[in-house]
Each structure stands twice: as structure tokens, then as C-alpha cells.
Symmetry: D3
Subunit: 127 residues, 6 copies
């Protein structure tokens, strides 16, 4: 089993309007460091999991709606809580769409929201 | 599959009185950076794995006996080698006790003992 | 010359409404990792720069207005651009106020706003 | 499940002579930070996964052919693309050879080639 | 005093053909993580040291001759030892050229060549 | 101005028997990550600050009394508080002794005692 992980970051604002979230209910923000991990049982004919350049471009595409974004006004999060977990799911789905022709590639997205907390989401096996 | 990881640290002294441990047989110490990872198949109704505040409190509780502790004199390690692995197991058990009502939450504890070595323990599946 | 550095973080939202800032003009956010460095020519009678606990409390106090804050609505930033540099200045001033009785202690604040950019501010010598 | 991870680094030169690799086709180089993770269902009689000293020596042995090496002229990579993935496989095999008498120990090698990209290889289960 | 630091990396090959360098005499390589720090007594009219985007572009320009480069064949290092220190000097000069119209901006370049060693160069005060 | 920084770590036990230190009065321990920074106005004839290998050996020598040490029983700390600041001073002095024939080399020692606190000591100018 092999994996390739590339990373980037986005800087977003949002609120979490449910009293469950205590001080995070109001408008605040985060730098989300995003790691995308791609896994594969065997390497391809170039002895890689994926081309690093291609992997970085896919991550860049997946993140493009989130750069300097206010998730409270973002159509993709309308009516949803934009928790870090939900954001990881969102990015994972976008990466899965980019790799729809390579269902054997596993995808995990890890978001570090601050030096003491991070979240990960693994896309379910794709048929 | 989702996970949430929070971290903290403890500063402990101990000795490893078995010649197997060479220079670490005598009294020495370590800053243990502790990561607690909680995993779950689906998010809860607030779109999170666990509330981050609750996760940090659980980790804080789990670590409270270890802050500025001398493990050689610690009742919970009496008659045992307080290796980093054993300490990870100890913390994992304490977290499992805190989450006894949520057996579907997986738990992994990772301890970094120095910039070149770390240890992890995954609590077995809970019935 | 000795220094002590302690760190913490805040998660803020803000906008930078000047076209100079390009995509950062709209509402977005950041996790700011904050390092506070205290310098001193000689150690005190306890062989430290400052007590670490006291240093962490001072930093905690300095940061308390910024936790989960929207700087656009924050009275302390009214009519000002809340750039990372301006935020570093703000924190530095608050630390200087806490240490007004110890003018020989130098103060530098370093804010990391994302994995690729950070900013520092050194409080001028205090009379 | 327990794991022990130790790390070290090598500084290598190589080229990737296939137009697939774009600007990396020519002679260039990398600092590869190498993490070796050893996993085990239960601890041994000394309450460890492996002795850390032994683990570091095994990693040191595994990396010895790679220190300050030009992989283009390295007999072990003759006729092969020395991608980071292939290098991870090479190190994993060397670690597996060192642990041939302990087939129950799992082995994963993680290579960070730059701050934005890393690769991992998990040695298949050993009979 | 304020500073802004941005970072990037390059992956280079080189040799250090002087027996002083022991095992580093032969062709090998490095990932150089490059931090460029810009300092200034006061902020500009936008409350920043420099625009981050501009700072990143300047660093990108300064590094462009070094991406995937073999310094042994690089005209800018002809007849010189391409030590990490010399490379830091080279990058510092290129940044100073970009900022020739702003001589009040101080410049420091820090290169991390592996997890255990880094080098810094501060451009002398500019008239 | 140029600098070279190399790092290593030690794992020590100690107590700080003064009520000023609160919970750190009892026996506890720390992993101290040690950075040694050497500065110099100009490079030597090999275009380096110091040979990295020599710098690492000097650091290794400076740290040798501290590996797996109990500072409470260490003759060099007899009758002294072994604060992190005092330990930084101790290491700085040992490095200065090694470089007594090169008084133009500046020396700073930085000790990270946990993820949230570090200390630095700069050896005064040497005649």
C-alpha cells in the first residue's frame, strides 16, 4: 500500500449558530491547513501514486471555492453547519469528483484548524 | 470515517530499571506530547465527531495524574515499567473510561517523547 | 541575554476593505498562532526570565479580547485595518501594559497566520 | 495495537528521465525525512514495541546506502525510476530484511520530500 | 520594529568538491526550505510591512533559478562552492535587487537544509 | 551576518525546590530540544560559518553530561536551580569553551521544553 500526501491552506470565516458551540457561535475564522492523502495498492507505470503536480492541482481545484471565503454566505454550505468536519467532507467530495475515473485511489482529507486540534475524513470506498 | 485529534503535553520523570534499557535505566525524564484521536463512522447531529471542548476536557482529565509526575512513585505504575508504550496504554484506558457510554468512538493515543521517536496505542474495539 | 517564549492561538474573522488587499478584502478569517517572547539581560532571583505560569497568564490576558472575535466589529480596531501586523502591535501593547512595572523586559510578538507567512512586532524600548 | 515511529534523514541527488516528470527530469535533489513505523498487536516482555535504540540502528542500517548518494549511479536503482515512492519501497524492504525473524511486526515508511509533499509505503503482511 | 516572513522551498543537486566536506564531496542534493524575512521600523500606509502577495512573488522570483537545479552546472555558482551559506547569500542578493528602491527594508534569508541544520544570512544595511 | 543552527535533544529529570515553581517543585522531567546557533560576520575560506559536522560534534560534546541525567544529583548543578534558563546557560558556556580559539563566533542556545514554551541564552561577546 502506497500513499501520497500534499497540502495547502485556506483562510475562512464562519459562525456556528447552535448553542452547542459556545464561544464559536459568533462570526470568527480559521486558517485550515489541508492535507490530501491519496492511497493505492500498487504504483502506476511511472512508479508513483499520482503525479505530484496533478495532485497539487486537484487539491488547488478542490480548495478554490474556499479561499478567503465567508462560509456563512457560501451557497455550498447553505442550511448546513460549516464545522471543520463538514468542510473536510466537502473537500473530500470534490477530490472524489476529480478522481471519478480512478475509483481505486483512496482519499483522506485532514484539516488542522489550530495547533491543538485537527480533523480527518476518509471518503468511503468508491464502486 | 471521521476523526478528531486534540493534543496536550505532560512533563514526567521516571526510570526504566532493566538493563535492556541501557542509559535510560537511571532516573531521567520526558516531555510527552500527547495526541488523542477519536474516530467515528458518521458525524453526530451537530456535524462533529465530538465537541472539541469536550474532547479537550477528556484529554485534560486523562492526563491530570501525569502532570509534573514522578512515575516511579506513581501508584498507577507500581510494579510496572512506565515505558512510553505503557503510558500510552494508560492514557488510552482513561479516555475509554470517559467514553464508556459511546463505545462506537474509536480511540488512539500518540505520544511523542522526543523529536526522533513517538509511540501510538489504539484501544481495541469496545463491545 | 536571555529570553522566554510562550505561545497560544486565537481564531478571528475580519475583512481588509482596501483594494490593496485583493482577495482578502472580503470577510475571511485566520487562526493566529501567537508567540510572546520576553527578553532580559540577567535572570531574576529564581533563575528565570519570568515564571512560565505568569508569562502564560499574561499572554492569556492579552489575547482574551481576540478569542473567536470578529475584528470588524471589535471596538479596539474601529477605524483601523486589522492586518496581522496591526494585531501583533495590539497584543504587544497589551503585554507592555501588563509589564509596565518591569520596563527592562523586552517584548516581541510573532503571529503565524498560515503555514507560509508570519509577522513579528518588537515593542520599542520602554523608559 | 501499538506502534513505534523513529525518524532520520538522507540528502540525495537524482533525475527522473521521463517527460512525465516535467521540471524534475533533470538532475536535482532532495532532503528526504524518513519515518519508520513499526506496529505490533501486543508489547514484548519489556513493555515496548521494539527497543528504540534497536529501531534507530535498523533505520540507520536501512538508510546507509542513501547518505549523500546520487541515485542515478546507485546500483540498487539501476534501470529504475528513483521516485520517492520507489525509495520508500526500497527502505521498507531493507527494514523487512532486518526484521525477517519477527514477521508479526508491521512496517510503514514515510518520506517527506518537501514541506508540501510526502509519500508512504506499507510493507505487505509477511508470512 | 516589524517583520514579515514568507517561505517556499527548492530542490537542488550539487557537490562540494573540497575534502573539507567529507561525505558531501560527491553529488548529492537537498530540499532547501527558504524563509525570507523583511523588517521595517514602521508600517506602511496599509498597515503592513509589505503586501504578502508581493513578498511571495519576490521570493518566487528570487528562487526561480534554483528550482530543480544542479548547482554544479549553474552559471551563477561557477567557480564557487554552493554551500547552504553561499546559497542564502545568493537569494539575499536577489531579494535586495528587487527591493533596491526600498533600502529601509531589512532582509534575512534562512535556509533549512535538513531537520537538524539551518543557515541564515542577513543582508548588510543598504545605503 | 551569517548563522548556522544545529539541534539535538536531551531527556532529563529534575526538581525545582522553591515554592515559586508551584507544581514543578517535585521531581519531574523534560525532553529539551536544543538548538545551538553560531553567528559570524563573514564566511570562512570554505564558504561556511563552521563545518556542520564540527558544529554537531561540539553540540554533542556540550550535551554529553545531560543525556538521561537527573540534574538534582548532577555535580554541575549542585546548589543551583536547574531551570531551563540555567540549563541553557550551562550549554552555552560549554560551547564557548569549545570555541575559545574563535572568539568572533557568536553563540546562542535555544531550549524548547514543551510545545508551548522555550528559552534562549546568548553568550556575551567574548574578548
Amino acid at each position: 500500500m502506497y500513499s501520497l500526501t500534499v497540502n495547502d491552506h485556506v483562510m475562512i470565516a464562519h459562525s456556528l449558530p447552535d448553542e452547542f458551540f459556545g464561544p464559536a457561535q459568533g462570526m470568527h475564522g480559521a486558517t485550515l491547513t489541508v492535507e490530501a492523502t491519496f492511497t493505492r495498492a500498487e504504483l502506476d507505470e511511472h512508479a508513483v501514486v499520482l503525479d505530484i503536480g496533478q495532485a497539487m492541482e486537484m487539491l488547488d481545484d478542490a480548495l478554490s471555492p474556499l479561499h478567503y471565503a465567508n462560509l456563512d454566505e457560501h451557497p455550498d454550505f447553505a442550511g448546513k453547519l460549516s464545522t471543520t468536519e463538514a468542510t473536510a467532507h466537502y473537500i473530500g467530495q470534490r477530490l472524489a469528483d476529480s478522481l471519478s475515473d480512478q475509483p481505486d485511489v483512496g482519499i483522506t482529507v485532514t484539516l488542522t484548524e489550530n495547533p491543538r486540534a485537527k480533523v480527518a475524513y476518509t471518503v468511503p470506498e468508491r464502486p
